[in-house]
Symmetry: C2
Subunit: 199 residues, 2 copies
């Protein structure tokens, strides 16, 4: 979702307004893996010199439970790459399926020439520990710091540590989307429970 | 899914037998990412001194399209760790949702004291390029070689290169499972298509 493409329509302004009043709840850090391990498409927010940006991302995985650490690939062709490398801060936000059109539209344009927050009317709130904003259209937000850049030159791979986790308690059971390539996404369907260990 | 737990019943032997006749089709390597990027629970097969083993895994991501490269975390508490580190070969197999119970059961016991292939009656076929077997209960199999071990000591992270990809054409639209922690899985539901770039 990194190439240029036609913009998709924003959700109605009415819906946006309501987001401003959302209450976010802190989640214990040791539960952060439950948001990343299922492999949803996420949004990655960065901020450089006071200018925020956001991209869509599907190449990420957990690397440690406690403290929660996430590895992700941010291509150096993405405008977000330089901001992430320099500021070492980001927010990973997890969008619900209803937000899929906007997620794809965010992935189809570049922060190099587009203020995506204005273009898509994204609702935000200041994060607690990092400069990039929380995304209120998403049901979960993870404030992250880059803790390892050793694999950036080889793979554009950053290792992040989650320093604060937020969920919107009204949408804690939101369904996520999983990218199967070329704009095809699987949406979470049925949930099943099977006796297993932690990971 | 790495702790001890009760075994779950195998699928009926009848179903197993039928798997032996399955025809697998090679998939162009540049399409391998479409199987991993959505973040399904996968099985990782290894083989050391002629003894195969298999574990369940959810911590993996794509790192490159071409050649297809995958990063994954295999804890050094897993019996598979030593085999992967020493032999530098594995098969990543992607199970359909119907196989979830067995996937969890595979994750709940250890190859240190269990022949999981016998215990769960797993149907296998020899891979083309690597020693670990293909798993015929899965709808896709990726033969992989470890190409980077620099992050093994820090994160138990291996970078794999896919050297051959197989799908079962009769089950190419199989639904996968995504682990949300503590034995809760989301099964793929609806599929949506939205105009986007490649990744």
């Amino acid at each position: 979702m990194s190439r240029e493409g036609a913009a998709l329509p924003d959700p109605p302004a009415k819906g946006r307004k309501a987001l401003g009043s959302r209450h976010l709840r802190s989640v214990p850090l040791e539960r952060a893996y439950q948001l990343i391990e299922p492999g949803p498409v996420v949004l990655l927010a960065t901020s450089q010199r006071g200018i925020p940006n956001v991209m869509a991302m599907s190449w990420h995985m957990m690397v440690e439970f406690t403290p929660p650490q996430i590895a992700c690939i941010v291509s150096n062709r993405n405008h977000s790459f330089a901001a992430l490398k320099r500021t070492k801060e980001c927010v990973i936000a997890i969008p619900p399926a209803e937000f899929a059109k906007t997620v794809v539209a965010i992935g189809n344009c570049s922060g190099a020439d587009t203020d995506k927050f204005a273009r898509f009317g994204l609702a935000t709130r200041a994060a607690r520990h990092v400069a990039p904003p929380l995304l209120l259209d998403c049901f979960a937000n993870l404030e992250c710091r880059v803790v390892d850049t050793r694999m950036v030159s080889a793979y554009c791979m950053f290792v992040l540590e989650v320093v604060h986790a937020w969920i919107d308690p009204q949408r804690r059971d939101a369904r996520t989307i999983h990218h199967q390539g070329w704009g095809r996404f699987a949406v979470d369907g049925q949930h099943i429970r099977l006796r297993s260990g932690k990971a």
